[in-house]
């Protein structure tokens, strides 16, 4: 017994050290990512500085790089996708969180949404290429614009489909947090269900719903493959929602493999910007949800 104690002590220490190292490794990984992106984009940062964000030309031959077309492309596609997806994700959230919490129909809807979330992005791209693109081209012909089929609208549509599940599942969760006694009080005053939803449920869950939308915005900004396949890859500033464009993620996907020197550094600069934007969006969204969860658990107890 006395002889085995030091052994146990040593195993004990090894165990806790291994745990702490594995945890610390994740922090180091993140710091490593930031540092690597920063140092590899230094040539571009030095050359273009903040002017990178307002430069309109992206020309590898002349080695002038301005990211404005991609910033605009990313923002327009993401916000358009949000605009399209919000009514749908909100409807799913209300359906599952308020109207039909249990039962076969809601079980079916919930699994279907999960399947939608599980389909790989490249398959969304493939599907968009063969169904969405002809459809958009048809609309464009009816409207009398150049019928390219690919462009901002097509990418926004596919992005909207892809982000619906995320906003919907977070929205459902926060809507189920709404305390029952609040709703019952409203019912007892004679409110209809619509009035309860409008005056109690949505206001109470507002910040959580917004957080869900923020998180899905983060997804939309970083989404690469489907957008790369459908946006038309044009390095010029888009002029309408039908014109082909490029997002930060899609230009990296298209050009990074062949890039060298300043081109490569500029693309990494773009990746750095992308990284920080999604980081801020994600931290903000997660923070709101965490606060909500803590608050609601406090109210229950």
């Amino acid at each position: 017994m006395t002889r085995s104690t030091p052994n146990i002590d040593r195993s004990e220490r090894t165990f806790t050290v291994v745990l702490a190292i594995s945890g610390g490794f994740i922090v180091l990984l993140l710091i490593g990512i930031m540092v690597t992106l920063f140092f590899n984009s230094l040539p571009a940062i030095r050359e273009f500085g903040a002017g990178f964000f307002i430069g309109k030309t992206w020309n590898a031959a002349a080695e002038t790089f301005g990211a404005l077309p991609f910033l605009v492309g990313t923002l327009v596609t993401s916000f358009l996708a949000l605009l399209i997806s919000v009514p749908f994700s909100l409807a799913i959230a209300l359906f599952l969180g308020e109207y039909y919490r249990e039962g076969a129909v809601s079980g079916f809807l919930r699994s279907a949404v999960e399947v939608l979330a599980g389909i790989p992005s490249v398959i969304y791209g493939l599907w968009g290429l063969f169904l969405l693109m002809p459809a958009v081209r048809y609309i464009e012909m009816k409207l009398g614009v150049a019928p390219q089929g690919v462009g901002i609208l097509t990418s926004s549509l596919i992005l909207a489909i892809m982000i619906i599940p995320f906003a919907a599942s977070i929205g459902r969760e926060v809507i189920t947090f709404v305390p029952g006694d609040l709703k019952e009080a409203a019912y007892s005053l004679g409110a209809t269900r619509f009035e309860v939803v409008r005056n109690i449920v949505v206001p109470y869950a507002r910040s959580g719903i917004i957080a869900g939308i923020l998180l899905s915005l983060g997804r939309a900004i970083g989404e690469t493959m489907a957008v790369t396949m459908l946006i038309g890859n044009s390095n010029f500033l888009p002029t309408s929602i039908f014109s082909p464009a490029n997002t930060m993620a899609s230009v990296i996907a298209n050009e990074f493999a062949e890039a060298t020197g300043v081109t490569s550094a500029s693309l990494i600069y773009l990746a750095l910007v992308l990284f920080f934007v999604t980081m801020l969006v994600n931290i903000a969204g997660t923070w709101v949800i965490q606060k909500l969860t803590v608050e609601s658990s406090r109210e229950v107890t």
Binding site: I8, I33, A91, Y99, V122, I161, F194, V197
Partner: protein, 281 residues
């Protein structure tokens, strides 16, 4: 009844109708996608498609055998790299609810989970492909491992938090050392949750293309050497979809069918496990 009340009730019914309509309309794309994949995918899938290599342009026939093998190699590689570290970090978080390192890890997990896959691809390129001077399955595995890691850490932490404290106390009271308590009592009781997390993270990375574009890169030939470029199903779909040849487009559908069946069955198994082995005390 008052007109006022009738109007309010009508509004209520209309709103409910709109909610149901929108909820189910949003499933339309899902059915269209599944329909297209099945219709176009099954048509090209046969024994030859599953077991032969891609042929060069101009020759008909060929298959995606190397891509299937490549995807499996990448899954095993990224799993081997991320699972041990992920579980250990998850245990650390479950054991240290507060504390500076714990909070730093939690924040890092959130950020890593939200990091766009293309950025992780660039990182793997700069870390591995650059120094080794060649695209390789290894670098692809690293990129996918970075994507798996946050999912595993999070699910491990959340599962272990559910394991009741008295189980741990009972074991410690019997004089079992802390590390054996964790390894033999706490971890096994959370096994189903951890396994679910691992399967979900595998399902997530199986369909990832963006991080492989400049790491594993793709390869027309059969390869199992992890220091050489390797093919994968999502990459092959991308390659075929962007090509101008109709026959390759139909191959893209066939490969998509295999990929969707793979990811969906992983999801199903994961859900089955968490439903069947749910922690009950």
């Amino acid at each position: 009844m008052h007109d006022n009340v009738r109007a309010r009730l009508a509004k209520d019914t209309i709103f409910k109708g709109i909610v149901c309509l929108f909820a189910f309309v949003s499933l339309l794309p899902l059915f269209l996608i599944l329909y297209y994949i099945t219709r176009n995918g099954i048509a090209v899938i046969n024994w030859e498609f599953l077991t032969s290599l891609p042929r060069p342009t101009g020759e008909t026939g060929g298959g995606v055998f190397n891509a299937i093998v490549g995807t499996l190699v990448l899954i095993v590689l990224s799993g081997a790299l991320s699972i041990p570290c992920g579980i250990a970090a998850g245990v650390y978080l479950a054991e240290h609810q507060a504390g500076k390192l714990g909070n730093a890890i939690r924040l890092s997990v959130v950020v890593l989970q939200g990091t766009p896959s293309i950025v992780i691809g660039i990182i793997a390129y700069l870390w591995i492909v650059g120094p080794l001077k060649t695209f390789s399955a290894f670098s692809g595995g690293i990129a996918l491992a970075v994507m798996m890691l946050p999912v595993i850490v999070k699910t491990t932490e959340e599962t272990l938090k559910l394991v009741p404290y008295h189980l741990k106390e009972a074991s410690l009271a019997l004089g079992v050392p802390y590390y054996r308590t964790m390894l033999k009592v706490v971890l096994p009781s959370g096994m189903s949750g951890i396994l679910t997390g691992i399967l979900l993270s595998v399902a997530r990375i199986t369909g990832e293309t963006a991080p492989l574009l400049f790491t594993a890169f793709g390869n027309q030939f059969m390869n199992v050497n992890i220091f050489k470029p390797i093919d994968s199903l999502p990459y092959r779909i991308f390659y075929y979809a962007m090509s101008p040849y109709p026959e390759w487009h139909s191959f893209a559908w066939g490969a998509s069918f295999i990929l969707v069946v793979l990811t969906l069955s992983l999801n199903l198994v994961a859900r089955g496990i968490s439903a069947k082995w749910k922690i009950q005390y």
